[in-house]
Symmetry: C2
Subunit: 325 residues, 2 copies
Amino acid sequence: MAVYTDVTDEDLDAFLSAYAIGEPIGFKGIAEGVSNSNFLLNTTADRFILTIYEARTEEAALPYFVGLMDHLAAHGVACPAPIRRKDGAIIGRLGGKPAAIVSYLDGLSVRRPSVAHCREAGAAMARLHLAGRDFAGFRANALDVAGWSALLEKALPRAHLFNAKMVEPLHAELQHIRTQWPDDLPKGVIHADLFPDNVFFTGGAVSGIIDFYFACNDAFAYDLAIGLNAWCFEPDFSYNVTKGRAMVAGYQSIRRLERTEIAALPVLARSSAMRFLSTRLYDWLAALDLPAGTLVRPHDPRPYWERIKFHQKALSAADYGVETA
Amino acid sequence: MAVYTDVTDEDLDAFLSAYAIGEPIGFKGIAEGVSNSNFLLNTTADRFILTIYEARTEEAALPYFVGLMDHLAAHGVACPAPIRRKDGAIIGRLGGKPAAIVSYLDGLSVRRPSVAHCREAGAAMARLHLAGRDFAGFRANALDVAGWSALLEKALPRAHLFNAKMVEPLHAELQHIRTQWPDDLPKGVIHADLFPDNVFFTGGAVSGIIDFYFACNDAFAYDLAIGLNAWCFEPDFSYNVTKGRAMVAGYQSIRRLERTEIAALPVLARSSAMRFLSTRLYDWLAALDLPAGTLVRPHDPRPYWERIKFHQKALSAADYGVETA
């Protein structure tokens, strides 16, 4: 849930005067996304989402994120299409912060994805990978192994405050991933945060992918590994291999995985689980330093610690439901 | 901002199956109201607001609140109209909590009301008072003088933690209001929380009044006093008598105030400021006892303390911009 910026009438009017999208008749803060403030904007012309980019979103990368949405929407991916201002720009400023308006997408995200949802999400991810191939922008993954391990190393000295049993295995895990990391995988634009709350469905089909604010250029299979972590574990932290098989099959129905990608899947799954564990642990520890009453509810690191324990026992991509023959 | 309950797909489907309002194609938590969880629900038929009633809303009073909206909407007040289920009920259960669906209203609330907004809000309040006259329900005001002073007395022993200079004057204020309280005012259904964020405008006219979860039967002029506190003070806590005059004139363009109501306005203004000060101070002190990191941001009591200082100097309704001749 996220509305960090209080928008005054004057600021909204000034911002909207740069657009040719009709008069506002509704403006409601919505609980979507965690890093930015999002509002549902109804005008006399149509429905839109207005996003104010808060400090956690890297401002220098906004042209990449918004340009990518523009590119993907133009190439048939169901994602928010940025609306141009009368002067042609797609990023303006509202209340002193960068802000943009994008098209509204119908659909509901699922809290408990079914096997069919996993298949559809896998196929949608592959379509995104293909549609992004001729996108001109480039952004390195700020949360690659070097990125998340830098956060993890800052967190480790206090990690015992969260779970003392985790500290030594995390050191070992970091070493393992560093030595096993494959550098020769096919790369391109990836979403890098394709959790169920970022995918809308209508009637069982994907109707929209949102929240491109971690998108970057990295290994396609790394995105798939993030997806397996995000969609295919049950609330009791068990891996549902049927869902994993469905997500990979959905993906491969659109884009065939190469042999090197399949071989790398176990280490990619470990690394992507470590990426979310590291940011969540870092945020969880940072929240300990805030004064009482501060409005913070960090994501729980534990589900990713439990995933890592599963991944450590996986021997090959077959353990994730991927045919390795 | 308020989404306290996480709704699963299964729970939503089960809840909606009792209604004949089409299939859901959008469901977003919205930052509206502070006591309940509100969602924008789009279906193949129309747009709606779905509210899940949380612990702070008195469950026994829900039939009053929802029945009142039903009555007012049927009597021409622009307010959310409850949607009946196929079995005729207007309150169901979602995820184990009471929940209802109401019609969606266009319009934007104003952060900084103009004089014209104050006039329109006053007129809308009077229309609500008239439309409520033949509503059969009855609910005593849980935050009348006895109600808020009980909260205040719980808060006073620790009130110095908020502001030590406030403690002695608050005792005196409580005594003053108790001795001056008028019991002979015209009464009926009042909104009792008509703040700017509960009033929608389109094109300068009131398009909707929302959030009836403090509505009750009490003095009409008490509602107006709440409105003067909520709409007519500037951010520097100065009273804008032009706005006050406009709100009262707007009110009187629909319902003429009686002489007793005008005479009582100063003590009603003090009492309604004390009502909000008491609940805010109580919540502010309660938040001190919560563990670090808890998701709480209580309303600031200070603006109401500053209002009380203004009210203490007011001699008659003339100081609020009301003609007393």
